[in-house]
């Protein structure tokens, strides 16, 4: 146990792990926020009656779905640099790629939430004399948001769990930091990997569990 604690106290090990947590959270949070905003817009385009828009958004969604995240990360990090001399900050690329992915997922959630709304909800709103804007504001959007929340939460935790990939474009996220610490401490302490990865497991749990709890709370509150 003592040796375990010494791993974390050695040098800046604990601080570095916390920095890793911070980067993971920062990239996930920024990506989720941007995905929600763009996903709403793209989702509305998806249910538009223009066939061209429908086809374009459909293609975007399917293309993102079949593409491994890692390929996207490489594509946006190395290609512009090699071919056009454009160098993007690794974290910017990470947020960009995660947003590209999240927007596709979010748009599909928005589409689902809106198309599953019974037509009668809108008509009942109209029948009591509300304007189209009021129908959207008081009837459609509140119900759509309630349907979206579980999906958004799920997307958030999946993003947090996917952040280790960004190590491949050299962002020092949590898991990578852990790995480096294990490599160094492992020479002296053969239990190092157990303690470090155990601690990282606990950190991921701390990041994701409150989000799941919040989701459960909202679901219960809105279930009435």
């Amino acid at each position: 146990m003592e040796s375990a604690i010494s791993i974390f106290l050695e040098g800046r090990n604990l601080a570095r792990l916390m920095e890793g947590v911070w980067i993971t959270l920062k990239i996930s949070a920024a990506s989720v926020l941007l995905s929600v905003v763009f996903g709403l817009l793209v989702g509305l385009l998806m249910i538009s009656r223009k066939p061209a828009l429908q086809a374009a958004t459909r293609f975007y969604l399917e293309a993102i779905r079949v593409m491994p995240i890692l390929v996207l990360l490489y594509m946006f990090y190395y290609l512009p640099d090699k071919n056009w001399g454009l160098h993007f900050e690794a974290q910017t690329v990470a947020i960009g790629v995660f947003t590209l992915w999240g927007t596709a997922e979010m748009a599909d959630l928005v589409r689902g939430a809106l198309t599953s709304m019974p037509a009668h909800q809108r008509e009942s709103g109209r029948a009591i004399g509300l304007t189209e804007g009021q129908v959207n504001r008081y009837i459609i959007i509140p119900q759509a948001v309630r349907r979206l929340i579980p999906g958004v939460i799920n997307l958030t935790t999946r993003m947090i769990k996917t952040t280790p990939f960004i190590y491949f474009i050299s962002v020092p996220e949590l898991l990578k930091v852990g790995q480096q610490i294990v490599e160094i401490s492992g020479m002296k302490n053969n239990m190092a990997s157990f303690w470090v990865y155990g601690f990282i497991f606990f950190l991921y749990f701390l990041m994701c569990y409150p989000i799941s709890c919040f989701s459960a709370y909202l679901e219960k509150k809105w279930q009435n």
């Binding site: 008509e123 709103g125 109209r126 029948a127 009591i128 509300l130 008081y138 119900q143 309630r146 809105w222």
Partner: protein, 258 residues
């Protein structure tokens, strides 16, 4: 009683879905305080007629007047027109994310801009009248079908409409709940509410109507006071339609006599 002015006047209404003509040259008048009951076979255009009246469907010809004002000619602000027309649908269509009281207050407060306190007072009085005051803070999913439908009626009434439109409001209810909803409508009739009602409940139609309008294939085949219509329908089509209900009655009796 002097002849009251028409609240609703439809002249030469035409409604098509693409090529399909659903309503052809239909004219109809509902006077203040009058209760018209529209009956007719399934698919003859009854729901479509009601939906045209409050602008949920566009029409291809004819005119609709509300209190002498055309709501078709010129630039119609449907949200304002619909405030004067209360409509209750067949499906329970309450807003599931709001309590009973919030459901009822939405129209008066947001569409009509009324004060919460004053609107609440009226809403509670109506709820009391339909026996649901103690459920005002419930959510729709906690109510039975009949209760939901009564709330939907109160929601429309709270807008203080000129006319109420009912589209088979008991059609998806369990039999034991039909009565509680029909009683509410009967009560409204007693108080002189102007109403246009579509129903398959013949006994109710007979009890509530000032006039029965029999529709088939998108037009009015005959219209008459209920006693005359149900005893002596003039047209073959009306006789055939009423026979459907008759037949059911005979069969039941036979079975009981076995």
């Amino acid at each position: 009683m002097a002849v009251a002015r028409p609240v609703l006047k439809i002249t030469g209404l035409h409604k098509r879905y693409d090529q399909l003509e659903v309503i052809g040259n239909l004219s109809l008048e509902v006077r203040k305080g009058e209760v018209l009951v529209v009956i007719g076979p399934s698919g003859c255009g009854k729901s479509t007629l009601l939906r045209c009246i409050n602008g949920l469907e566009t029409i291809q010809g004819g005119d609709i007047e509300l209190n002498g004002q055309s709501i078709i000619v010129g630039h119609t602000r449907w949200n304002l027109v619909r405030q004067q027309i209360g409509m209750v649908f067949q499906s329970y269509d309450l807003f599931p994310h709001m309590t009973v009281l919030e459901n009822i207050l939405l129209g008066p407060m947001k569409a009509q801009g009324r004060e919460r306190a004053e609107a609440t007072k009226e809403a509670e009085a109506f709820l009391d009248r339909v026996g649901l005051l103690d459920r005002k803070d419930s959510f729709p999913r906690q109510l039975s079908g009949g209760q939901k439908q009564r709330v939907a009626i109160v929601r429309a009434l709270c807008m203080n409409p000129e006319i109420m439109l009912f589209d088979e409001v008991t059609a998806s209810l369990d039999p034991e709940m039909v009565r509680e909803v029909l009683d509410v409508i009967l009560g409204l009739a007693e108080q002189g509410m102007t109403m246009l009602i579509v129903t398959h409940e013949m006994a109710f139609a007979r009890a509530v109507a000032d006039k029965i309008v029999f529709m088939d294939q998108g037009s009015i085949v005959e219209s008459a006071p209920p006693d005359i219509f149900f005893q002596n329908p003039v047209s073959d089509r009306a006789r055939k339609f009423l026979n459907i209900f008759q037949f059911e009655g005979v069969k039941k009796e036979e079975r009981h006599n076995d």
